[in-house]
């Protein structure tokens, strides 16, 4: 089984400042890693994913994340945030080599960007 811990329930930040949203996971098998964003009254939109290859992955809207296997982390970063980035962000994992694999999510981090 897998579990995901998002260390901050809420992250307030000023516009144009950098931000990091933290994610740690636990798993007895290798995993794929994902970040999703959820805007109010909407479903989840995939920001980026790590399936294999380079541990630094770039996603949409200027976000990037780095997979650190030794620290079992997959932190999300953006060098300069906009007001429109205000949303809930979810980190998720999926067990590798499982044909019917599913997603295990963290509890989410609310990113609040103010002017």
């Amino acid at each position: 089984a897998q579990s995901v811990t998002q260390l901050d329930s809420q992250v307030p930040v000023f516009e144009e400042a950098p931000v990091e949203l933290r994610c740690n996971y636990s798993s007895s098998v290798s995993v794929y890693l994902f970040w999703y964003v959820q805007y109010p009254n909407q479903g989840l939109q995939l920001l980026l994913k790590y399936l294999s290859g380079s541990t630094l992955v770039k996603g949409i809207n200027g976000f990037e994340a780095e997979f650190n296997k030794s620290q079992t982390s997959f932190h999300l970063r953006k060098p300069s945030v906009h007001i429109s980035d205000t949303a809930e962000y979810f980190c998720a994992v999926s067990a590798m080599n499982s044909g019917y694999s599913t997603l295990t999510f963290g509890k989410g981090t609310m990113l609040l960007v103010s002017p």
Partner: protein, 115 residues
């Protein structure tokens, strides 16, 4: 290219009633997963359907059941509704055989309120 569509968008029921939620997967996808997202929480996996059969199931009681049709669309049924079933129900679709059946694409969800 139509994404994942869910209906209805909102639903109000009373305790003890039964409800059916519907999902049409993204064009070209053949696998449907259902998630429950309680207020302030991350989504939790309910079950996954492929080739009209339930392939994986999360930790949900038998009151939660589903179905997949030959056109890959799916239904989620919940019987004997409880107040705790109030949540956003998300449908996600993916293509079996793609890398670990990922990524999953989500619909905007059905908001179910139990009175």
């Amino acid at each position: 290219d139509a994404g994942v569509t869910q209906s209805p968008t909102h639903l109000i029921k009373t305790r003890g009633q039964q409800v059916t939620l519907r999902c049409s997967p993204k064009s070209g996808h053949d696998t449907v997963s259902w998630y429950q997202q309680a207020l302030g929480q991350g989504p939790q996996f309910i079950f996954q359907y492929y080739e009209e059969e339930e392939r994986q199931r999360g930790n949900f009681p038998d009151r939660f059941s589903g179905h997949q049709f030959p056109n890959y669309s799916s239904e989620l049924n919940v019987n004997a509704l409880l107040l705790g079933d109030s949540a956003l129900y998300l449908c996600a679709s993916s293509l079996m055989g793609s890398e670990n059946n990922q990524p999953q694409h989500f619909g905007d969800g059905t908001r179910l309120s139990i009175l």
